[in-house]
Symmetry: C2
Subunit: 295 residues, 2 copies
């Protein structure tokens, strides 16, 4: 019972913070989402590279966060204040710093291959860290940075409704998947992806699809989602399909590294990466659809 | 002797191809450099992920190349034909494909940690491949894609001279480093980075610096490099310092994976990654300097 209250309160606080920041305006959005991204990048590094600060991890972590924030802030400045898109190039400098700092990390140039139970493994723990820093940038920082792009309407006026609607559709997917997954999914049990997420069912997936599309139609009906009906439905479908895939991608990541939650920042909910796993894949696809294919 | 002739001829053919394509025009540039980038991306994957096609490597390789070309072509279209920079977003779709395809690769969800001689290693060969695909994009495809940005002068007219000058400065660095490294460097032997590149000396580095800056000044003198003197010298210094660092970064990569040459495409010269290792770090920094700090 106590857990339930904590879980509900922390979920509520988080939802208010996310929705509130988008509604409040661009600077609030940038501060809140920049912070969430930084936490999510840290969690990704905790999972992949480890929490230990041995082997240059402090420097790698610092440079990855600087690169992530540099990408986020520069894309935001381009979208919000009309900066030249070339400013995004500045994010390259800390990325190059990641490569260069690698040179100075002890043990990174150790090359050591062994056979373990017939499988070839490298026992150096050096070079494996460095691509995950790039992974954090592409997998976590890039999708968060792209959110800025949909914060302005065609006349250049701030309008957080579209991003808000995308969030709501993602939450609808979760709710629909839970409702049908825990009832029909339990009864019939057509499993979606047993090797990665044993509990997910096709019944839950279709529940999510129906809820996401219904959410899109309702949001459009009340005037929050300014797309025509076909586009609203398409975005609902995209958010559900790629949201579920994003969920699976993060589950695979955690399973691979033997981690249950990405972090502990939200009592009862795990980490920020767990909260945004669906968005990391769904939002970029939805944004590409909206920019290039929506009427 | 036969080797020397082959080496000279293949080096000459490569130089003619690179210089010729830049001088000929934007489409020739895009075809030649897009091809070189594709080869370099393949070589990076050969080194890091391996040449074997087991474990979903064909798909990973295909998606990485599609993502690289998508980035390259879209940045080129923005720079050369004035496309909206948002077109670069299309490169995200194959990147997401990399994450999603991962889900379907057998063994990727195997989580297996062992102790080997007191060092913790993972014996799954799955998840380690996937960040290197992102590494190929950031480390190889991004710098090649950025080259398009400096192909046009301020009035929007195609002018390959700046990129050509950057190439020449990089070659000057190599020549200067070789001349002083093989003479003074042999005599005094202040080693630059013994753990990664035992043969490099500080004497060679300063030889490269002098030659690169001298090259910049001469290129400016003959009217090919349209920068003021201070900026020309700054670009010469940047190209030398980051060119040497780029060389070290690639050496570390190869050393870590026990590889001598990145490939065999150029008889006597190794692979494309070996040819462009300096440019991968030097050109992005030079481009940022030229765009934001040159008068």
């Amino acid at each position: 019972m106590k857990n339930f209250i904590i879980r509900t309160l922390s979920g509520l606080a988080f939802t208010v913070l996310v929705i509130g920041s988008i509604l409040y305006g661009p600077v609030a959005f940038a501060v809140v989402f920049g912070t969430i991204m930084t936490i999510a990048v840290s969690e990704y590094l905790n999972i992949t590279v480890g929490k230990s600060n041995a082997g240059g991890n402090i420097l790698l972590r610092a440079l990855t966060i600087v690169a992530s924030l540099s990408l986020f802030v520069n894309v935001f400045l381009v979208a919000a204040y009309g900066f030249d898109p070339l400013y995004i190039l500045f994010a390259i400098l800390p990325v190059l710093g990641i490569f260069i700092s690698n040179l100075y990390v002890k043990g990174f140039n150790v090359h050591d291959i062994k056979e373990v139970d017939g499988v070839t493994v490298r026992t150096s723990n050096g070079y494996e860290s460095h691509p995950f820093a790039l992974g954090a940038l592409v997998y976590v920082a890039l999708p968060f940075s792209l959110m800025s792009i949909v914060l302005y309407d065609k006349t250049g006026v701030y309008d957080g409704n579209l991003l808000l609607c995308m969030m709501v559709m993602l939450w609808c997917t979760d709710v629909g998947a839970y409702l049908l997954g825990s009832t029909l999914g339990q009864m019939f049990g057509h499993r979606l992806f047993p090797s990665i997420s044993p509990k997910k069912s096709w019944e839950g997936f279709f529940g999510g699809l129906v809820c996401s599309v219904a959410g899109a139609v309702v949001l459009r009906g009340v005037g929050l989602l300014e797309l025509n009906l076909a586009d609203a439905i398409a975005v609902g479908v995209i958010i559900c399909i790629f949201g579920v895939l994003g969920d699976l991608v993060e589950s695979q990541l955690k399973r691979n590294f033997g981690v249950k939650d990405s972090g502990k920042i939200m009592p009862g909910h795990g980490g920020m990466l767990d909260r945004f796993d669906g968005a990391l894949l769904a939002f970029p696809v939805a944004i590409v659809y909206i920019i290039f294919f929506a009427a």
